[in-house]
């Protein structure tokens, strides 16, 4: 377990015009569950490869527990990784797979220690029953569990990198694997860096999430913080389903525009579908017309719907229990919103 510190680390492929990863600094504390979230091509894998030593940064330095590991190969960083697809030594049994990292040069231990550690990790992951099986003869789900077990086997591992570890697993057992992973992280207190493009995975797994886009970290914060309080329009748009609504301030009614002044002079307002209320015409300031309805379910006997609304030239989504039909005119009350200027958050209203 270790604290991971990235100091102005950037990466540019030789001959490339733009940096794959813009210089960034990051601090992941000891025993933290950290998540890197971003769409494909955002630079997640590059960052992961920089941490694991496949790639060396073209600038900046990487520290593990204040030891500069920049330039060191992966084997000397004492870290482990779980890959998208289960990577096992297929000629070995499950037990041998788990024990392998404890038998290699530099981390060799005596037999009793290995036995005890393998059993402890197997218990944690509930795979004690398949230890004697061949690594080839178990299910995909079990294989990925064993791969996770192998990543956790060294008690002193500095960090565990998880590269979209649920990709290959069937949807029906995804949550089980995620639960196991989360539990193991808490029980063993391992520093974990979880890379994913799936916001649900990132937000439920991590204590802190870093959102990446186009090689930049747009925001780092708790899941609640990045969701409720996005620092960048992309973060608001990328998280949530549907994502944040955006309306240009210039297109808002006069009365609303006045409420916005003194908030850092934003160009656009962003609000989440659940942070607005609907009313009959002339109730609130912002008028709109219902153009679509998707029923989400019922809550305390009321039907909750996701309404698509046309507000002038713009389309927004609002979650509401108000019974409406397509074509109905409504007004919208923004309970909580964020102001953005040049896509950067400049102010907010309604929170706290």
């Amino acid at each position: 377990m270790a604290r991971i510190r990235l100091d102005n680390v950037g990466f540019t492929y030789p001959g490339a015009d733009a940096a794959t990863l813009a210089p960034l600094s990051m601090d992941i504390s000891h025993g933290e569950a950290f998540s890197l979230l971003g769409a494909s091509g955002a630079g997640k894998t590059t960052l992961l490869n920089l941490l694991s030593g496949i790639l060396q940064p073209t600038q900046g330095r990487i520290f593990l527990d204040d030891v500069d590991v920049t330039g060191l190969p992966g084997r000397d960083r004492n870290l482990s990784q779980v890959f998208q697809f289960p990577v096992l030594y297929q000629s070995m049994t499950v037990r041998e797979n788990l024990a392998f990292p404890l038998t290699t040069r530099g981390s060799r231990r005596n037999r009793a220690d290995i036995e005890a550690r393998v059993n402890a990790v197997a218990d944690e992951l509930n795979i004690g029953g398949i230890l004697k099986r061949s690594a080839k003869g178990i299910s995909l789900f079990e294989k990925q569990l064993v791969a996770i077990g192998r990543a956790l086997i060294r008690p002193d591992v500095s960090m565990v990198l998880l590269d979209e570890p649920l990709t290959a697993v069937e949807p029906s057992v995804k949550w089980r694997l995620r639960q196991t992973l989360k539990q193991a992280q808490q029980d063993l207190g391992v520093t974990m860096v979880y890379v994913t493009h799936d916001q649900t995975e990132a937000l439920t797994f991590a204590e802190r999430v870093a959102v990446l886009a186009n090689g930049y970290i747009l925001q780092t914060g708790t899941p609640d913080d990045v969701y409720q309080n996005p620092a960048h329009e992309f973060v608001g748009h990328f998280l949530g389903s549907p994502g944040m609504n955006f309306l240009p301030v210039a297109d808002l009614p006069e009365s609303l525009q006045q409420r916005v002044t003194g908030m850092g002079d934003p160009e656009r307002l962003g609000f989440r579908p659940e942070n607005a209320a609907l009313g009959l015409p002339n109730t609130f300031d912002l008028p709109g017309v219902v153009h679509s309805q998707r029923i989400l379910g019922t809550q305390r006997g009321e039907v909750i719907s996701m309404y698509g609304l046309q507000c002038g030239a713009h389309s927004v989504f609002v979650r509401s229990s108000m019974p409406l039909a397509v074509g109905d005119p409504v007004t919208i009350d923004l309970k909580r919103w964020i102001g953005f200027r040049d896509a950067i958050r400049v102010g907010r209203r309604g929170a706290e």
């Binding site: 694991s52 030593g53 496949i54 190969p73 992966g74 084997r75 960083r77 870290l79 482990s80 990784q81 890959f83 998208q84 697809f85 990577v87 030594y89 297929q90 000629s91 070995m92 392998f100 990292p101 290699t104 040069r105 530099g106 981390s107 061949s134 080839k136 003869g137 791969a147 192998r150």
Partner: protein, 290 residues
């Protein structure tokens, strides 16, 4: 459906060409040999049934036994060198780019040369009077002469076969190595695996399939080798490089002993079959168990 079906056996006619081809290319020649092997043929009209006499005689023939042992020695030596060497070459290959393509073409070249040409190339190359290899060795103070020294003849033959066929093993192993996912190497690196462990636990299990094919091909081919030693040494000096196929050719074509030669062929054929089967089942048994 079943009730409406018209009973009609005309479809069998469609299978006929295949039956004919298999019969003429495999079954009939083999049965002819079996037929010969149990008869003493004096001339076209005079033949006696002798039962297993020729088989007994062949197995008791010291020249057969010698040739057989030489054959096993040759095949074993060839496999012991070519399989590891092929893997080493394949592991040293760049995985992509122009260099990889050029190397692949270069590697494939020996495989494209007709076998008797391979024999002729090495026959000239190793000649102590004019051959590049032979002259060079003699200049270095080694009294190299493959036409008079059995050991030299053997080494030349082995060198020729290794030169000729290691490429095949290397190409197969290269194909096997390209199928190893990068993540497997990465995981081994992070686990702190040594180079040997990477080979033993990451690469070898994934090479198993192609290596089984490589060993089978090289086993069968080397066991049947004829043309190259025939051109290079002619089985000499003495009989020291006379392998099974050459002895067989001497009997069948040279002396026209059809009966013994036929019995010899059957034994020869069964041995190749036996060795291949033994190897294949022993390797594949682990596979089924897991």
């Amino acid at each position: 459906m079943a009730q409406n079906r018209v009973k009609d056996n005309r479809a069998w006619i469609g299978v006929l060409p295949v039956l004919l081809i298999v019969a003429f290319s495999g079954v009939i020649p083999l049965m002819t040999v079996v037929n010969y092997s149990v008869q003493d043929i004096l001339d076209f009209n005079t033949r006696f049934f002798v039962g297993l006499e020729w088989y007994r005689e062949t197995l008791d023939d010291p020249r057969f036994v010698d040739a057989f042992l030489r054959q096993i020695g040759f095949s074993a030596a060839v496999l012991i060198v070519e399989i590891p060497l092929g893997i080493i070459v394949a592991r040293g290959m760049p995985t992509d780019g122009l260099r990889a393509s050029l190397l692949l073409v270069l590697l494939a070249t020996p495989l494209l040369i007709p076998w008797n040409v391979v024999g002729a190339i090495w026959q000239i190359y190793a000649r102590p009077d004019i051959g590049l290899l032979g002259v060079t060795l003699n200049e270095l103070g080694i009294a190299f002469n493959y036409t008079s020294e059995p050991l030299h003849a053997w080494l030349t033959l082995l060198a020729m076969d290794i030169w000729h066929w290691t490429s095949l093993v290397a190409l197969l192993a290269f194909a096997g190595l390209t199928s190893v996912p990068a993540a497997c190497y990465q995981a081994a690196e992070l686990d702190g695996a040594s180079k040997w462990q990477v080979f033993r636990f990451v690469e070898l299990p994934r090479l198993k399939g192609v290596l089984v094919i490589a060993v089978l091909l090289r086993l069968m081919d080397s066991f049947m080798i004829y043309t190259e030693p025939f051109v290079l040494t002619g089985g000499g000096p003495g009989n020291t490089t006379t392998f099974l196929s050459q002895y067989l050719a001497t009997m069948a074509v040279g002396q026209f002993d059809l009966g013994p030669a036929a019995a010899f062929s059957i034994i020869y054929f069964l041995f190749i079959l036996l060795f291949s089967w033994l190897f294949y089942t022993s390797v594949m048994r682990d596979e089924d168990r897991s």
